[in-house]
Amino acid sequence: MARVVVDVMLKPEILDPQGQAVQRALPRLGFDGISDVRQGKRFELEVEGPVDEAALARIHDLAESFLANTVIEDFTVKIEEVAEAVK
């Protein structure tokens, strides 16, 4: 089993009030020195079979047409190594 991670972020020019709310809470919590926070979405896809070029291309299409709305969001697709579960 291989995992492919799709990260989706609002485009940089679009206002992210959720990220701002998080950022404004930071000084109160004692976290200083963080000038900006933007919040996104992470999708972890457990892929059956090999993650070859064809599989990645399909996931890219899926991300572009469904997981992200590319009018307002950017996305990245990456393969993640899954550590064997420790029994």
């Binding site: 609002l10 679009i14 959720q18 469904f66 709305n69 009018v71 307002i72």
Partner: protein
């Protein structure tokens, strides 16, 4: 014979019944359409009603946009079928790319429900011919994800082509860019807006006014005279 106007029910639609009632009040025949049914049953126009279809999971309207009924709606809308998207319906239309731009959470991060003042900016679309350009109306607004966004190029294009159909007046309830409450496509057959005209069609309920009724008389006039 009168016009047959379809109202799609998605899982999580809330305002399908109110929309059917508004259509009937305007003198047209409402036809219930089901999200799993590709067949539009020979309707002359379609309304995508408000609500929280598929729980707004992923993004508002993102999953509904891929429902079987939408395959036909998208195809027919491109061929000229009049389509109105109200609230969640507007979100579905942007997700389906029948209208440009996108919808995001209100800038204040809260659900909002209020009587909203709007200005009708374009009284030439299939859904607004019974208004006067520049007319000010009050209709209810209730949403979580009502912030209309698009890039500067798209916004300028919409303004230049007169495709901003409604603008928020006095108060911008959700941070929508350029106070945009509703827009249309190039052909003027597809219109989407966040506020709810179907809740302002009888004096007894809603704003106590009937400022939303002209949406439904507009389309009837358009279809009957076609």
């Amino acid at each position: 014979m009168t016009a047959r106007i379809g109202v799609v029910t998605f899982p999580g639609s809330l305002d399908d019944r109110d929309t059917q009632r508004a259509i009937r009040l305007a003198g047209a025949e409402p036809v219930a359409l089901w999200h799993k049914d590709k067949d539009l049953h020979q309707v002359d126009a379609v309304v995508l009603p408000g609500g929280f279809s598929y729980g707004d999971y992923l993004r508002a309207g993102a999953i509904s946009r891929f429902s079987p009924v939408m395959e036909t709606v998208i195809e027919q809308a491109k061929a000229g079928l009049p389509v109105l998207g109200i609230c969640n319906g507007f979100q579905i239309l942007t997700e389906a790319h029948l209208l440009p731009g996108g919808m995001l959470g209100n800038d204040h991060l809260h659900f909002i429900c209020r009587d909203q003042k709007l200005r009708v900016e374009n009284a030439d679309t299939a859904w607004t011919v019974d208004y006067a350009s520049g007319q000010e109306i009050h209709i209810p607004l209730k949403n979580m994800d009502g912030r209309y966004v698009a890039d500067e190029y798209t916004l300028d294009k919409l303004e230049a082509e007169g495709r901003v159909v409604f603008r928020y007046l006095d108060f911008n309830p959700n941070g929508s860019l350029r106070d945009i409450a509703g827009i249309t496509n190039e052909a003027g057959n597809v219109v989407g807006l966040m506020p709810h005209p179907e809740h302002a069609t009888e004096p007894l309920i809603g704003t106590g006014r009937t400022d939303g009724l002209p949406f439904f008389t507009s389309i009837l006039k358009k279809l009957v005279n076609a």
